[in-house]
């Protein structure tokens, strides 16, 4: 997953109703961002570096107050000095500039989900109408083990280009090793990366979220590592030139580099573990990361001779050279996984998208959908959602199923999971 330009500022404020004016925060602040008059203690958003030094010394908790604001509308000091109480959170869609992207405002300790990570989760699952429960047989996920105050430090143990040298996109497989730090993840969970340095406003960069591409026991089994699938962002959704801070940072990492990692996050987009459960996976581009994790988990079990349910994968890309993990995927045994590739930019061939593939395989897809042990996972660009939904409606109709009735039922049972960006 990649990041859009920053628009939301997680503004650090002091609750005047709770503050007792003990001056501890002002004393503690290393950059003199905090000041006071005879009425209120206030924080200058332009100076605050979000170092959190002031948080734990505050005896009241008044200092631990935050509002998400469009960056150009942060509350100025003069206004804060007049407050008797904190203003409520403004509705960000009325803020004009605060479209929900995959951008995360920082600011939490271990044990709590940063408000903006929750915001992204909400945005990415909006296609299914909010987060769904996980499959009943999913393993229990650990979440929020590392917050922005105390991130885990991982070491890069590998960084490989997945796409062909002549492909237009640079997608990379990056392996992070956690050494002695405990960082347990499940397939389908995401982690946050803290790019170093400061943004144009002199603030630390926001957190970037990436899906884990390796199974729970590690990219290399029994090693304390995990992998990510990262596409170098060089243009925005409209095709205009844009330099993705998080993705370029990650793609340029060298073996041995240290990376600050927060999370893990995600309690819903998880795989079932019971025997006979089927996976129906639909993805595009780097949306393949969680599918790769789940498939790899099952492949290792398959290799050890364990009996498994069916795996069916629909994977869209511009061409085979742009498709991450194309080579390894094609080598998987047919009896293990039913793979369907769709390429939209192969010269001389008609464009084929994942929804076209779904329609073509309608009968087989419908057979899976009829089975209560089937779990559907959709991950990729937001644009794919509509086409996939339409394909499901059509193929259900053709095979005696009612998608409008089935979909909510699957959602409720934790069998339908959408994560798009």
């Amino acid at each position: 997953m990649t990041a859009a330009p920053a628009t939301i500022l997680r503004q650090h404020l002091i609750d005047p109703e709770i503050c007792i004016r003990c001056n501890t925060c002002e004393e503690t602040c290393p950059v003199d961002a905090i000041s006071h008059d005879s009425r209120n203690y206030v924080i200058d958003a332009a100076k605050c570096k979000l170092c959190y030094n002031c948080i734990s010394p505050c005896p009241t908790g008044a200092i631990d107050s935050w509002r998400n604001m469009p960056a150009d509308r942060a509350y100025p000091i003069a206004e804060q000095l007049l407050w008797d109480s904190l203003p409520g959170q403004i509705a960000l869609d009325q803020g004009g500039t605060a479209g929900a992207g995959t951008e995360v405002g920082a600011g939490n300790t271990a044990g709590e989900t940063p408000e903006d990570v929750a915001q992204i989760a909400a945005a990415s699952t909006a296609g299914q109408g909010g987060t769904a429960p996980p499959p009943w047989s999913a393993a229990h996920p650990y979440v929020n083990l590392y917050g922005i105050h105390q991130p885990a430090v991982a070491t890069v143990s590998g960084n490989f280009r997945l796409t062909a040298e002549d492909a237009s996109s640079d997608i990379r497989h990056i392996v992070l090793d956690f050494g002695n730090a405990s960082f347990p993840v499940l397939e389908g969970q995401t982690i946050g990366i803290l790019p170093p340095g400061l943004d144009a406003n002199g603030k630390p960069h926001h957190v970037r979220l990436y899906s884990v591409a390796s199974p729970r026991e590690g990219e290399r089994p029994k090693y304390n590592n995990l992998s990510l699938t990262v596409k170098r962002v060089t243009e925005d959704h409209e095709g205009k030139a844009a330099h993705g801070i998080g993705s370029n940072y990650l793609c340029d990492l060298k073996k041995g580099d240290k990376v600050n990692v927060v999370g893990p996050y995600g309690t819903s987009f998880l795989m079932p573990n019971h025997p006979g459960s089927h996976l129906l996976m639909i993805c595009t581009g780097t949306g393949s990361a969680p599918m790769r994790a789940m498939t790899e988990r099952r492949r290792r079990k398959f290799s050890s001779g364990e009996s498994l349910g069916k795996q069916m994968l629909f994977f869209g890309a511009r061409s085979s050279g742009e498709l991450p993990y194309f080579g390894p995927l094609t080598k998987l045994p047919k009896e293990f996984i039913d793979i369907n590739f769709g390429f939209s930019r192969v010269p001389g061939e008609p464009k084929r998208y994942v929804q076209d593939l779904l329609r073509e395989r309608g009968e087989d897809v419908a057979r899976l959908l009829k089975d209560e042990n089937t779990y559907v996972y959709i991950c990729g660009l937001k644009g794919m959602e509509k086409g996939v939904e339409e394909a499901f409606t059509a193929l259900c109709q053709a095979n005696g199923l009612d998608w409008n009735g089935l979909r909510p039922q699957m959602l409720q049972q934790g069998r339908y999971h959408v994560e798009t960006y």
């Binding site: 007792i20 004016r21 003990c22 959190y52 948080i55 734990s56 105390q150």
Partner: protein, 474 residues
């Protein structure tokens, strides 16, 4: 600057490297524990209390929360990190390097300052030792115990200075700190306010608001000291002191909140009806406020004081925010306004600034104390009740300094002895007021339950819910 907890005495001052000092303090430690068991919180030594302990003195490490039995609390010695090339910032030695050892000629004055500050710490523990028996909630009980253990920690801070820098005299003073008793006729604590009783929780909240705030101002001025170990000690103590004022401000605020709620439910401002409903009427709260404010005014010392001038000139004790003052930090030719009774009126006369250092600190304190009273008034305003709390005049009910000779009303009018006798029960809590407040005190010790006379807090401690089991009985 992490704290070495593997030592018998947790510390960040490399105690291990100074065996003589370490042995002296290890000798004092069991005496402290004995004092704590005798004079610390009554009947609560076996409770598991959800307390904050410093695990390092940097901002991320000093607020570590866990259950602990109070006698097992890791009292220790924590100094703020040293500031490189720190200078003496005021007085005759201004501009010289800050002292890392006690200058011989200031030894007795410095010792006196440290002993006076240190004496207040165990004193307040003694004053508050019975309050756990009448706590209005587990949340409040925990806050009380947090205040108590941190006062104990502050005693350690001062005792460390006495042991480390004052030799045998210092060790004797450290022992005497454990021998004096609050309110004891034969061997009382040094300062008057610390020999008063803290008989009920309203008094406790008022004490932590007003009197601990005096502590804040004293520590702030000692944190400016040219004697660097004292400055660093006091800087770290200030971070802990903030919690005490929080307990006071939010405590009184919650009492006011509850009273306003009941007044609105009953639609009355009739004191008798309000008291019958089991909450504390606002005029009584005002009288408690007057009492604690005025008692605390005396803690700043005489209005004109040659001792204060000496402490300042010799670089031992500065002003509040000394380095933020824009004058010459010598004050030889400056003057400052102090109050005097002249011809039946209070008038301000100009005194040499150096002699008025106490008054300057008192004035700084008053500004801060009044700001909190205004926040209490907002609670009352929000409830739509036409009543305003106010700080009495700083000359009201003084027992120290020239103003103690006069009778002065809360609004600053000089009144006759006759009028004082007639009026003072409207100004200060009467025996009847105290008896009424005492009648409300009864222990509430179920998680999430609060006594009828106080509202629950807006937030729990360390982001825990309000109904968290802040104290576990064993």
């Amino acid at each position: 600057m992490s704290i070495d907890y593997s030592q018998k005495i947790p510390n960040n001052v490399h105690l291990n490297d100074n065996k003589t000092l370490q042995r002296a303090l290890e000798h004092w430690q069991p005496e402290f524990i004995n004092w704590w068991k005798d004079m610390g919180p009554d009947g609560s030594q076996n409770f598991d209390v959800y307390l904050r302990t410093a695990v390092s003195v940097d901002p991320s490490g000093w607020a570590h929360f866990d259950y602990v039995k109070m006698p097992d609390y890791r009292w220790g010695i924590f100094l703020n990190p040293a500031e490189a090339d720190r200078k003496v910032n005021f007085g005759a030695h201004k501009g010289e390097a800050a002292w890392q050892e006690v200058p011989g000629e200031y030894r007795s004055n410095l010792r006196r300052l440290i002993v006076t500050q240190g004496d207040t710490e165990p004193a307040s523990v003694e004053q508050q030792r019975h309050l756990g028996l009448t706590c209005p909630s587990l949340y409040d009980m925990r806050n009380l115990f947090q205040v108590n253990v941190e006062e104990g920690r502050h005693l350690w801070a001062m005792v460390y200075l006495l042991h480390a820098y004052f030799g045998r005299d210092g060790r004797e003073e450290a022992e005497a700190l454990l021998e004096r008793r609050s309110g004891d006729a034969d061997n009382p604590r040094i300062l008057g306010a610390f020999n008063e009783r803290t008989p009920d929780w309203l008094s406790f909240f008022m004490f932590t608001y007003f009197t601990d705030r005096d502590g804040k101002y004293q520590l702030c001025s000692l944190a400016e000291s040219g004697f660097d170990p004292l400055a660093r000690t006091c800087k770290f103590m200030l971070t802990e002191e903030a919690h005490h004022m929080f307990v006071g401000e939010s405590g009184v605020g919650r009492v006011i909140q509850r009273t306003c709620d009941v007044m609105n439910q009953l639609k009355t401002d009739d004191v008798a009806k309000i008291r019958a409903a089991g909450v504390i009427d606002l005029p009584t709260i005002q009288r408690y406020l007057n009492f604690h404010f005025s008692v605390t005014m005396d803690l700043f010392g005489a209005d004109v004081s040659s001792n204060a001038a000496t402490f300042y000139t010799t670089g031992l004790k500065g002003r509040y925010e000394e380095t933020k003052q824009t004058d010459d930090h010598l004050l030889n030719d400056a003057s400052y306004g102090v109050l005097e009774v002249d011809d039946g009126k209070l008038v301000t006369i100009q005194a040499p600034y150096l002699n008025a250092i106490n008054e300057k600190l008192r004035d700084d304190y008053v500004v801060d104390a009044k700001a909190g009273i205004e926040r209490w008034n907002k609670i009352i305003q929000k409830a739509g009740i036409p009543f305003t709390l106010s700080a009495p005049h700083k000359a009201f009910n003084r027992k120290i300094g020239p103003l103690s000779a006069a009778r002065i009303s809360p609004t600053g009018q000089v009144v006759s002895e006759g009028e004082w006798t007639h009026q003072h029960l409207h100004w200060l809590p009467s025996a009847e007021d105290r008896a009424f407040v005492a009648s409300l005190m009864g222990r509430v010790a179920e998680p999430g339950k609060f006594a009828n006379w106080i509202a629950p807090p807006a937030r729990g401690i360390n982001n825990q819910p309000v109904d968290f089991a802040y104290v576990r009985f064993n």
